[in-house]
């Protein structure tokens, strides 16, 4: 991939299963799918951090990943950091009813949940690669982060 680091920001995912899937899919992007090109920031750090953290979306083209229709990740990123380049809505991929189910401890993850994680991670990857392609040969909006 190119030199542009692309941000993937997950919702905090404390209200429903969609949030858990969102977090796990984001982690999969960070650790397995695009470990050298993806960066993330936890949402509360937009609030508690300083200028550097709040400049995240300006420094990186950013995809937000939301677990449900509250759109916490998109809303918090745009309110506190900057406009996002694309969004992934977990409920659109696994169904609203499933996404709004109860939250999940890592102990209780089943193969079905992991399939959902893969599906969401693939959607993130598609959008991630599209953004990366559009930045090929271009400089970062702001150097470094």
């Amino acid at each position: 991939m190119g030199s542009v680091k692309i941000g993937v920001v997950s919702c905090s995912g404390e209200d429903c299963l969609g949030g858990t899937i969102s977090r796990l899919a984001t982690r999969k992007m960070m650790e397995q799918i695009r470990p050298d090109d993806a960066v993330t920031l936890c949402l509360p750090l937009f609030i508690a951090g300083g200028e550097e953290e709040r400049g995240f979306a300006a420094a990186h083209p950013t995809i937000t990943v939301d677990g449900c229709g509250k759109w916490c990740a998109k809303r918090a990123t745009e309110r506190l950091s900057g406009k996002v380049s694309d969004v992934v809505q977990v409920a659109d991929l696994i169904g609203t009813e499933t996404a709004e189910g109860p939250i999940l401890s890592t102990r209780n993850i089943t193969p079905e949940h992991l399939e959902m994680v893969d599906k969401v991670a693939e959607e993130i990857r598609l959008k991630f690669d599209r953004i990366a392609e559009s930045y090929k040969g271009k400089a970062l909006p702001i150097k470094g982060f």
Binding site: S10, C11, S12, G13, E14, D15, G19, R23, T26, R27, M30, E31, T40, L41, C42, L43, P44, L45, I47, A48, G49, K70, C72, A73, R75, A76, R79, I103, L104, S105, T106
Partner: protein
């Protein structure tokens, strides 16, 4: 105080300790019926969580030194009942956290430790409470009823001692539960505040054992017995109106370990004597 928490974890995703904060929150919630506050949604829209944060003791779980959850609690002016910092705890227990965001053996071990610590504290609280609340009250109390116009005054017929200051004591062994009589709560009308005596303090007979207050007046509770305060009815801190509902049962005030009940008894009244005093006071009380 409720034994379940409002839990505010940082829910960090860019550091392992943040992910661990979420796992700890989930496990405590599963075992205690606590409610988890999503830090991001709380920031974006606080209506959902304001009630939870106000009604339950707040447990703040931060992953690292940035203390995102703690800062959010400060920003929202929340009172923190307990807090955990995962990074600090990992140093304390000498458990090294990995670099992957995936929770491994070490991380899960630390998670178990911290969850157990919180649950253990609760169990100790419960045990302490059981030791403190040792006065076994009768399952049913037989009341004398005295009515004046629309006002009904109850008075327990058996087992209670009273003083002329309209407070009662129910004695079992060397312990006593104390409270005020119906005459007090009816005179005060809607009780809005309860100031408890301090647990561990020694009170002389006829000394002050806290106070209750309504829109009409403040009533100093005159202790019928001498002793050391071992428990208070802390439900009255949130629901002082329990005294209006029934001052002999759920509206009790405190419990004491008695220091000289044999002497105290000489200055106390039993039902037959106090009921006359109460009736006279009611008749003279122009409500």
């Amino acid at each position: 105080m409720s034994k379940s928490y409002a839990i505010l974890p940082c829910n960090g995703l860019d550091k392992l300790a943040g992910s661990l904060s979420r796992e700890i929150a989930l496990r405590i919630a599963e075992q205690t019926g606590s409610e988890i506050i999503c830090p991001t949604f709380y920031r974006v829209s606080d209506v959902l969580y304001n009630k939870v944060a106000a009604e339950k003791p707040l447990l703040v779980i931060d992953g690292c030194g940035t203390r995102c959850a703690g800062k959010l609690a400060t920003e929202k002016a929340l009172k923190v009942a307990a807090k955990i910092n995962v990074a600090e705890e990992s140093k304390k227990y000498n458990i090294k956290l990995g670099s992957s965001l995936r929770l491994g053996e070490n991380e899960l071990r630390l998670c178990d430790l911290l969850v157990n610590n919180i649950l253990k504290d609760e169990l100790e609280d419960k045990a302490g409470q059981e030791v403190k609340d040792t006065v076994l009250m009768p399952a049913e109390i037989d009341y004398e009823i005295y009515q004046k116009d629309k006002f009904v005054f109850r008075l327990p017929k058996e087992g209670f001692y009273f003083n002329e200051n309209d407070c009662w004591a129910y004695v079992v062994g060397n312990k006593a539960r104390i409270g005020v009589t119906d005459y007090v709560q009816k005179s005060l009308s809607d009780i809005m505040f309860f100031t408890p005596p301090e647990i561990g303090s020694e009170i002389e007979q006829f000394g002050e054992a806290g106070a209750i207050e309504s829109g009409k007046a403040v009533f100093e509770i005159i202790c019928p017995v001498s002793g050391v305060v071992t428990a208070i009815n802390d439900e009255l801190l949130d629901y002082p109106e329990y005294i209006n509902d029934n001052p002999y049962e759920k509206g009790w005030i405190a419990e004491l370990e008695l220091t000289d009940f044999e002497s105290d008894k000489e200055l106390l009244l039993q039902f037959e004597e106090y009921v006359k005093i109460m009736k006279r006071k009611v008749d003279e009380f122009h409500v």
